[in-house]
Amino acid sequence: MNRAQLVRWVAKPVVFVTLLLPAVILAWDSVAGNLSVNPIEDITHRTGRWGLILLLVTLAVTPVRRITGWSVLIRFRRMVGLFAFFYLLLHFSTYVVLDQFFSLRGIADDVLNRPYITVGFASLVLLVPLAVTSTKGMVKRLGGRRWANLHRLVYVAAGGGIVHFVWLVKADYRDPTIYGIVLVLLLASRLKLPRWRSVPT
């Protein structure tokens, strides 16, 4: 088996199953009654957290690749990104179905009047075109540069996710702060090095 086959037939399925695990565990906990006495809150928090974590993982691919030189990592980024979207869709569906039970009035009231929901909702909407244009065909159709520019929206969406998290906690900002610092580091690593460093000596 050559390297490309190894990635395709072994590494990718392993990563796929791994990324599915949080959902499997959540489903198991729901059926087995292992959630808290407010299970809807539990499901909402867990799916939201995994969505945010995986969003940060996709953003880590480029800097980690640059530091380690493991160019193969890029082959997994789309899958991680789509899993992030999957968990955030579950997060949103939990809110719409279980929390609000399709109450349009309740949802509209929240989106308009609770800033953290406004931001969270907008960030998820931003991710929709990215998920839609994630296929090889769409990359070709848009052209590499335009595709890449479009997919920079992920920075905005991730920032929105952090703001959503900060604004929803009552007093304990430890977790959102940790996630926020990680995002800032990941974004900072993308800044172009100052010119004087790139001049050959």
Partner: protein
């Protein structure tokens, strides 16, 4: 004055009230059945019913906001074992003729506990129904004889990071302080609780003695009290000092006052699937509304 009759709508076109309600009832029932079919199998522990059934002992003792033991809902049940509730004293001081340091065991002897089943509405839009054991705070306050200057009552939780590990982090100004107006404190619904479900309070529920004010959001019902002080001016309270726009001094349950994080119109009763409407004063308006007559409750939220 001429009152115009709406002649253009024939009476046969108007849905009569009975079928209007039965139609709504039908839609609600169908929607409810559909929802249960969809998610019911996943969540076998949900109760049915719309009434005020007691919340389970398990839920009451494992799902708590008690930041002295951590900010997660399950933290207090896990971490509150380090709290020592004996010996325990309650200091009553300030604008009273008979200040004193009361021993917890003497309090239990002096003020026999009775059962009070109250709704508890958390500001986070969830709620429970809890069978408390306790006695009216008024009994204790009358015994210490407030002076004519006393207008407010200030309550303070124990401050000891070795027993309350959550106090090692500055998520709230420690010790936790809450307050009531004297007339609110003297109201017969306001109790000091020492137990629930016929048992002594567990630490995570605020042992050995806590306040319960059923028409206010849960954070007003301060736990593990060591000091009660009668004062002339409105005390600075914990959540109010952290975020005054979110948590008012009064914090009466009020579905009309918007909160930036949670809609206060509805609440999820722990153990039930569907949210239910939140009631003004948590449903205790008949007993307590007169305390606030003439007050703008949207401003004094």
């Amino acid at each position: 004055m001429l009152i115009k009759k709406p002649n253009d709508i024939s009476s046969s076109e108007i849905t009569d009230e009975v079928s209007y309600h039965s139609r709504r009832k039908f839609i609600e029932t169908v929607a409810g059945a559909a929802a249960y079919a969809a998610v019911g199998p996943l969540v076998p522990w949900f109760q049915r019913g719309q009434g005020d059934e007691l919340t389970s002992y398990d839920a009451i003792t494992t799902y708590n906001n008690f930041y002295e033991f951590g900010t997660g809902k399950d933290d207090p049940a896990r971490n509150a074992g380090s709290l020592r509730t004996r010996p325990w004293t309650l200091t009553v001081e300030g604008e009273v003729h008979k200040p004193g340091v009361l021993d917890m065991d003497d309090i239990l002897k002096q003020y026999p506990a009775e059962e009070r089943v109250y709704r508890l509405r958390c500001v986070e839009a969830w709620s429970m129904v809890i069978p408390w054991l306790g006695f009216p705070l008024a009994n204790l306050l009358q015994a210490v004889e407030p002076t004519s200057k006393a207008r407010f009552v200030e309550f303070t939780t124990l401050h000891d990071p070795t027993q309350m590990p959550g106090q090692k982090r500055n998520v709230l100004p420690w010790p936790y302080v809450e307050g009531l107006r004297l007339d609110e404190a003297m109201h017969p619904l306001t109790i000091l609780s020492v137990g629930l479900y016929g048992k002594m309070l567990l630490n995570q529920n605020g042992a050995p003695i806590r306040l319960v004010v059923p028409w206010k959001y849960g954070f007003k019902s301060i736990k593990s009290i060591v000091r009660i002080r009668l004062v002339e001016n409105q005390p600075a309270t914990a959540w109010n000092s952290v975020a005054p726009r979110e948590y008012g001094f009064y914090s009466n349950v009020n579905p009309e006052v918007n909160h930036p994080r949670w809609s206060q119109r509805k609440e999820r009763r722990i153990g039930k699937l569907f949210k239910q409407d939140t009631l003004m004063f948590n449903g205790y308006g008949d007993q307590v509304a007169q305390l606030y007559s003439g007050m703008d409750l949207k401003r004094n939220f």
